[in-house]
């Protein structure tokens, strides 16, 4: 339209020019005609102006267009920077904070030494309330490439008002991030999953400090997903090693089925801090190595289930996992012999959409002592599960329980759970990094626990619980010494808050 009007105006002027050009240098026309032409031109000019005005409403001006174009370029540049920054931020971070209070009471227990040795005590009843602790964890993960990923966790775990380093044979490399101590960060786990490409079998290699704590079924009580490769009844400690996993799903059609081989070192024998060649073997107990194999799968017809068969062999178990140079006057570290562990773990989450999670776990231990023992002041001779290390001993433990998700939406579906475990006289496992400081799964006796989980949001929940332990034998959790009968009992009422993000 605009073009048409402009053309018409131009033609009128041109026509006048032609008329002028044909006649003479000057134009002669009636004044009213000339006036009419000028009015017509003014009208056309006004129309053009109006159209220009309308055009600015629906279309940007050149300057606006240039500015918009520049803005888009800036946005692209910003996106490039964000994308580059994201790719440079190779590690994703997450964090956890747990604040917990424990209230212990005990009967026929006396001192800790009495519990270990079974000696009579005059101070056999008591309680220890209001034990507060904080546990902070910094979680890391990275997808390095399609076939390579990294996972890590640093942790600080401390009692309120206490940052002392705990000097104990029980607080060592295998549980340093799971026992309260100083405000220093501890390396809980740091490992890569590498799935080599171009080989005929689906193989994954997991190398580093492993996810080997709080394993199934502890995730039920911890209100989270699976946290370890291994069932907690057999292995619940921080381990360094290599695991090779062959995926079997394409061969068996069983979902998440796999065969695993594991190698690790449970104790490295060296001179610790007292020699310029501290990295060399101290010629005492020697290294303790671990070989293990696992077969796991989801059970047919039971989604979100898990079945694990386990076998673990531990070579050259030392008398102390801290080594000889701990300034405790301990005797030289002694290689006590070998240990074998076997286990079956079965677990079903949300059975038939009922809200029930069920599990049963069975474990067995078998010692193969070499006749050696260490003599500890106040404790006497301590061989592998005996005093003199002469006899092979077998033990077993049964661990079962359930959790129920309450159908109360206004309370964010709270959960209640009950667990029971029973260990025999010579039961021993590798649970030194248990979340419970009393390592309930190591108990030689009966343990009952009931708990209630109150979610507040997906990042925050509270848990309160009661645990009762009836010890039948002493030295629960110790691989050394001769267990003897005891009537010791331990109770704990606890409340904890977990915030994860």
């Amino acid at each position: 339209m605009k073009k048409t009007l402009l053309s018409l105006g131009v033609m009128l002027v041109w026509a006048g020019s032609v008329f002028a050009g044909v006649g003479a240098e000057t134009v002669t026309m009636p004044a009213d005609v000339y006036k009419a032409i000028l009015e017509r031109l003014d009208s056309l000019q006004q129309r053009v102006n109006d159209l220009e005005q309308e055009k600015t409403v629906v279309q940007p001006t050149r300057e606006q267009y240039d500015k918009l174009s520049q803005d888009v370029d800036n946005i692209y540049d910003t996106l490039d920077e964000v994308e580059t920054k994201t790719l440079q931020d190779r590690i994703n971070f997450g964090a956890e904070l747990r604040t917990r209070v424990d209230n212990y009471s005990f009967d026929n227990m006396g001192t800790r030494t009495d519990l270990l040795t079974g000696m009579e005590s005059t101070n056999d009843d008591g309680h220890d309330d209001n034990n507060w602790s904080n546990r902070f964890r910094l979680n890391m993960d990275a997808e390095i490439s399609n076939s390579l990923s990294f996972h890590g966790r640093l942790a600080v775990y401390k009692n309120w008002g206490d940052s002392d380093y705990t000097e104990s044979d029980l607080y060592v490399d295998i549980n340093q991030a799971h026992r309260p101590g100083t405000t220093s960060l501890k390396l809980d786990r740091a490992y890569i999953d590498w799935i080599p490409q171009g080989i005929p079998v689906p193989l994954a290699l997991t190398i580093g400090r492993h996810p080997s704590t709080e394993g199934p079924p502890f995730e039920l009580k911890e209100n989270r997903l699976r946290q370890s490769t291994y069932p907690a009844l057999l292995i619940d400690l921080e381990t360094d090693g290599i695991v090779g996993t062959i995926g079997l799903e394409q061969y068996t059609s069983l979902k998440n089925s796999a065969f695993r081989l594991a190698y690790g070192i449970g104790y490295h024998s060296d001179f610790d801090n007292s020699d310029s060649f501290s990295f060399l073997d101290d010629d005492e107990a020697g290294d303790s190595t671990m070989f293990a194999t696992f077969l796991e799968s989801e059970m047919p017809g039971l989604p979100a289930s898990l079945a694990v068969l386990s076998y673990i062999h531990i070579d050259d178990v030392p008398s102390s996992f801290r080594g000889p140079n701990d300034d405790h006057g301990n005797p030289a570290n002694v290689n006590l012999g070998d240990l074998d562990l076997y286990g079956i773990h079965l677990q079903v989450d949300d059975l038939k959409k009922s809200g029930f999670d069920l599990f049963v776990s069975w474990g067995a231990s078998r010692s193969d002592p070499n006749g050696k023992f260490a003599t500890y002041p106040g404790y006497g001779d301590m061989g592998l599960l005996t005093a003199d290390g002469q006899d092979k001993k077998s033990g077993s433990s049964l661990y079962a329980g359930l959790r129920y998700k309450l159908p109360i939406e206004m309370l964010n579906h709270p959960k209640i759970g009950f667990e029971f475990n029973h260990g025999s006289k010579y039961w021993i496992s590798m649970g030194n990094a248990s979340n419970e400081l009393y390592n309930k799964l190591a108990t030689r006796g009966d343990v009952y626990e009931i708990y209630y989980i109150q979610p507040v949001s997906r990042h925050l929940f509270f848990r309160t619980g009661y645990t009762r332990i009836n010890y039948d034998y002493t030295l629960s959790g110790y691989h050394t010494g001769q267990p003897v009968s005891t009537d010791a009992e331990l109770e704990n009422y606890y409340l904890l808050m977990d915030c994860r993000f």
Binding site: L203, Y404, F418, F420
Partner: protein, 102 residues
């Protein structure tokens, strides 16, 4: 003592109505969402881990889903689905164990 404790636990659990079936976001997602969001479906496949949890919440709060979900999910079902998406979102808790290759 311990038998009384065990008995109490058994009775306590028996009193809870196990017959309740909870509103299952995973089931709704599989039945109703994946009807369209599947390979060669009307819409591209969707993985809860495609977005962070809070992004899923904002996505539905702002009505960004291109198809009106009112005819497919009622309010409670939509809430269950969003909860499921949040629980399995990109920033959600992940299982930790040695990897199993397929």
């Amino acid at each position: 003592m311990k038998y009384r404790f065990i008995g109490g636990m058994v009775i306590g659990f028996a009193l809870f109505p196990a017959i309740f079936v909870l509103a299952d976001g995973a089931d709704l997602f599989a039945r109703k969402c994946e009807f369209c969001h599947r390979i060669e479906g009307q819409a591209a496949p969707v993985n809860p881990a495609d977005k962070a949890g809070i992004v899923w919440v904002k996505y539905f709060k702002r009505g960004r889903h291109p198809v009106d979900l009112g005819k497919i999910l009622n309010d409670e079902e939509l809430r269950s689905v969003v909860l499921y998406l949040q629980e399995h979102a990109a920033d959600s808790d992940r299982p930790a164990m040695a990897a199993i290759p397929n």
